[in-house]
Every structure is written in C-alpha cells, then in structure tokens.
Symmetry: C2
DNA sequence: GTTCCTGCAAAATTTTTGCATCAGT
DNA sequence: ACTGATGCAAAAATTTTGCAGGAAC
C-alpha cells in the first residue's frame, strides 16, 4: 500500500513522547523558558491524534485539572507554530486548528465531513509524490502543504 | 504539459462572463431575487482572477462606485457559496477568501508566499489524478478539495 | 535579580444578526 | 402587495494585546 500511516493518522505512542521531548528541547534552544502553560499545551498536543482548536485545548486542559489561560494557549501555539513544532490549519470552521508537527516531515492531511463536520486524517504517498512534482515546477520554494478534502462521511451518507 | 490553465489561473474573459450569467441564472432558479449588492458581487468575482476577501470585495465595489454594505457582501457570498457558485478558502490569513467556482469543475489551487503573503494560483492535472485516487479509497464521498502550498516566492527569495 | 511567562481583562478583528426600509416580481 | 434584499448598527465570536504578579534561570 502507499501510506505509512494507513487511513488514520495515529502516531505510535513512542513517537509522540519523542515529539514532546523534541519540542521542549527546541523551545529551550530557541531561548524560551519552561513555563507551565506552554508545557501543558505541548503535552496535550503530544497525546492527541489530530488537530484541535485553541478553545478545545483550553477546555481539555481544564478538564485535566491543569489550567492555563486561553491567552496563554494562543501564545504557546504562536511560538510553537513559529518554530514549526506545531502545524496550524484552517479547515473552514470558525477557528483555526493545531496539531503536533513531526520533525521527520511525516504528516497527514484531512477530510472534513460536510454534514457532521467531523475531521478525519489520512495519508497517501502517491499524493505526496504528485505534490513534490508540482513544487518542482513552481517558481516558489515550497516547504509546506495542506490538503483538505470535503465530502460526506460514511455515517452521514446512510 | 499537464495543466489546462498553465501556471496562472486566468480564465478567458468569455468563461468569466459565462460564469456570471450562470450564477445569475442559478440564483434565480434557487428563488433569489436580483438585488444590486449581490449582482455587484457576482460581477466583481467574474472579473477577478483569484480569490478576494470580503473586505477586499467591499472596497473594490466602493472604488468602482457601486456601493454595497459589507454585511450584504457577506450575505451574497454566503448564498453563492451554498449554491457552490463560489468557493470559499482559508489560506491561513485573518479572513476567508472567495473566488468564482467554474461549474465545469475546472479549478486551480494556491501557493502563498510565507514572506510577502502573495497568493498565486496554479493547476496540475497529475495532482488532480492523485487526489481522485485518494478520494476513491476513502470511505468519504469526497466532492471537493483544496490544496494549499506555502513557501517563499521567487521575488522574496532573491 | 532580571527577564520571561502567565492570567485576567480589555481591545481589535472578522463575521453574523436585528430591524427598518427599499426594490423586485 | 408581498416578500426577499439591502444597509446600518449592534452583537457575537475569535484572536491579540496590555499589564501586574509570579516563576525560571
């Protein structure tokens, strides 16, 4: 088959723990201090399979007992995104979504159900190849891409 | 070559005029009346090559002497998007962008310069093929897709 | 001890909605 | 005439910023 992750975007637990460590490390290298709110965001994103909104992150942290101000969540995401440790996506909803960005470059894309709004990750090597070829022929120095598919999911099609 | 539109997304003038007529028609069929603001939005989008924000549409209409309230622009875009006459995209900026959607399904995608923010359209048939293949193997009934590339444009790379 | 981080509240933006009025059919 | 479309202003929702206090180094 053509994908390294199958149809869902689950990373192995080990990868995610590694990502968290890598992120903490990169933050340190970039001259940032280790505060509680940012660490909480990193740990939450490490534990999460797919993208979350800032509000969702905030809510889950509260639910987990760690509380972090929503502004701090936004600030943490801003720094993490700038360092390319986190990927920010706009799936057309009201809020932006964020997910851990694997330093190896391995990544997935998303299908959004037009009816229920559910977001499902997928990966496909041939698609990546085609994207690479396109990037070649453009005059831009392309270093990132987002693919977003829309349609009705199996459940909503019944 | 692999694209029907080359590297830029210019439609021929005739296509665009046809789109405007088609849109007016579809609006009528959907039971909408022909008001001034909505017609102005349709005509502006028909004349435009690539995506615009609601605010940009509003500003250009003012500049052209046709004035339409910003709320009416949003409402027009909402209706047009629901009828699939206009495509709404989130390129990561603060505002959503809108562009005419060709009923033939012919469409283009976008590269955004990380530095200057300029949006450039492109099209690629092999990419479309790969996307079609992905859509096949997913359990979703995919009916739309957006591709967004990011990187530095030739000008910003100098 | 200095400087960054955090949280709260206020502000800035973008988009939506209420309502009175105008225009299209 | 009836009903949808429009414009303005107000509201809602999301994200950013100012500032005082606390934490990290």
């Amino acid at each position: 088959m053509s994908t390294g992750q199958g149809q869902n975007g689950h990373g192995h637990g080990a990868d995610r723990a590694a990502w968290a460590a890598h992120a903490e490390d990169a933050l340190g290298q970039a001259g940032h201090r280790a505060g509680g709110a940012r660490r909480a965001v990193v740990e939450l994103l490490a534990a999460e399979d797919c993208c979350l909104t800032a509000q969702e992150i905030h809510d889950r942290l509260r639910a987990d007992g760690r509380r972090a101000g929503l502004a701090s969540v936004y600030r943490a995401l801003e720094v993490l995104t700038a360092l390319r440790l986190v990927h920010r996506l706009d799936l057309g909803g009201a809020s932006a979504r964020y997910e851990a960005a694997d330093p190896s470059g391995e990544h997935h894309h998303h299908v959004v159900c037009r009816e229920c709004g559910r977001v499902t990750p997928f990966a496909d090597d041939e698609l990546e190849e085609a994207l690479g070829a396109v990037a070649e022929r453009l005059s831009h120095q392309v270093d990132e891409h987002d693919i977003l598919l829309r349609g009705r999911c199996a459940d909503c099609r019944e």
